[in-house]
Amino acid sequence: MRWVWALLPLGFGLALWQAAVMVLQVPHFILPGPARVAGALWENRALLAENAVVTVTEVLVGLALGAVLGWATAIGLALSPPARRLVRPLLVFSQAVPVFALAPIFTLWFGYGMGSKVAMALLIIYFPVTSAFFDALVSTPPAWLQQARVMGAGPVRVMWHVRIPAALPGLLSGLRLAAVYAPIGAIIGEWVGASRGLGYLMLLANGRAKIDLMFATVIVVAVLTLALHRVVDALANRLEAGRRG
């Protein structure tokens, strides 16, 4: 019975959408109804799948690189107070620059292909990943650190055997956020300049007044993002359960 309750909000949303179309008498080139969009989804399934593969690849590569880079930065900052003083203000500043503004520059630097989209996805997740993990790394219970010191551990082994495992929840919460942000980065990258991918397909459909295809693309993006979030969340929950024992 649980799946019924899971599907109920979806059905309610679709009904609301259909009702809006019927009551407001909106022309279908402004707001197509769910049936029309479903039709467009089915008709364009090959086109959507082909472009989805591109976007998903960008998202996954960006997610992996951004996460690894973010974790490495967090560990570096946690190990070295001078690095912290030097780099942290820069990190915060990088967050003040709107990513949208950087997209054209990234296209210039990394080209029209996947490189610039991966860079966008990476940039958008880098800060949340770094800061969530860093905050967790510097809040190890002081008594654990003192115990490790008394046992004769150096800073690197304390990091590896105490601080990182203790900070795992922070690492995972950053990763959960990243799973939702990374697709945004890739899509922005594709809007600014691309010849493939779901973001590109959205603009193409919009330009050709194929609004039903545009909605279909938006739905694919949303579903993919949700799926990615689910996968990462399940993975994170497993890791956390293993840690607690």
Binding site: Q146, V150, M151, R244
Partner: protein, 242 residues
């Protein structure tokens, strides 16, 4: 284990401009069990930590070291009120944590032997979350023993346990730590009367030594007349100081 040194402390501890341990002098005899009794906030844990390495922001204005003049680093093990078991490691891995942290191969056989000694061999591969409070403290004791250090610092390790568990833990600790230099910080007069071969009381007025029942080897029975009398004297001292 090398021959245990005595400990000597002389000085005060500052946190910025605030004095959190007033000037005091303490000599802990080698190879004996010394209790340091005092009310909360009087600085007794801070004094103990001077031998283990002070936390951030605390400064020792004075000296804390071994009576043989050699450095204490690598010769001290510590056990606190919080068991400090790592939740992601098994009980046995927690016992061998020191080896892991020093990057040397752990001695699995010895860890299991120590767990047997504290009565936990059946739980060796379980996670700490599966253990009761008393069992967790026994695991912490096994971890302390695994370090095999001549000096052992105890920071109220039994204060969170119920009365019966505490009494059993006191006996176990007394048995397995015999022959080492033990500095045991506690706020429980009965505990000091049972375990202390030397007992010092730290109050706002300073440090004073209280005679214990030297005829009776420790751990003394908790219901022994002389032990109860010492408990009473210690309690009176703490009361008068408060």
């Amino acid at each position: 284990m090398t021959a245990p040194p005595g400990l000597c402390f002389s000085g005060r501890v500052l946190a910025g401009a605030v004095e959190i341990l007033a000037p005091v002098e303490l000599r802990v005899p080698a190879g004996q069990w010394t209790c340091l009794l005092g009310a909360s906030g009087v600085g007794k844990s801070t004094l103990l930590q001077c031998f283990a390495g002070l936390g951030d922001g605390l400064v020792l204005d004075g000296t804390a070291g071994a009576t043989d003049g050699r450095a204490l680093a690598g010769r001290v093990a510590m056990m606190a009120q919080a068991d400090l078991l790592m939740p992601w490691l098994s009980v046995r891995e927690n016992v061998m944590l020191g080896a892991r942290l020093r990057g040397v191969r752990g001695d699995k056989g010895r860890a299991v032997e120590l767990l047997r000694r504290v009565g936990l061999e059946a739980l060796a591969e379980r996670r700490p979350s599966a253990l009761s409070g008393g069992q967790r403290q026994r695991a912490a004791l096994a971890r302390t023993l695994y370090e095999d250090r001549p000096v052992v610092l105890l920071d109220e390790p039994f204060s969170a346990l119920d009365v019966a568990t505490r009494a059993r833990m006191q006996e176990l600790a007394a048995e397995v730590l015999r022959g080492r230099t033990v500095l045991h910080v506690t706020h429980d007069p009965a505990e000091a009367a049972r375990l202390g071969e030397r007992v010092f009381v730290l109050t706002d007025q300073g440090l004073s030594e209280v005679a214990t029942d030297e005829g009776q080897p420790m751990p003394r029975p908790p219901d022994d007349g002389e032990t109860l009398a010492v408990t009473g004297r210690l309690t009176r001292l703490l009361l008068d100081a408060a």
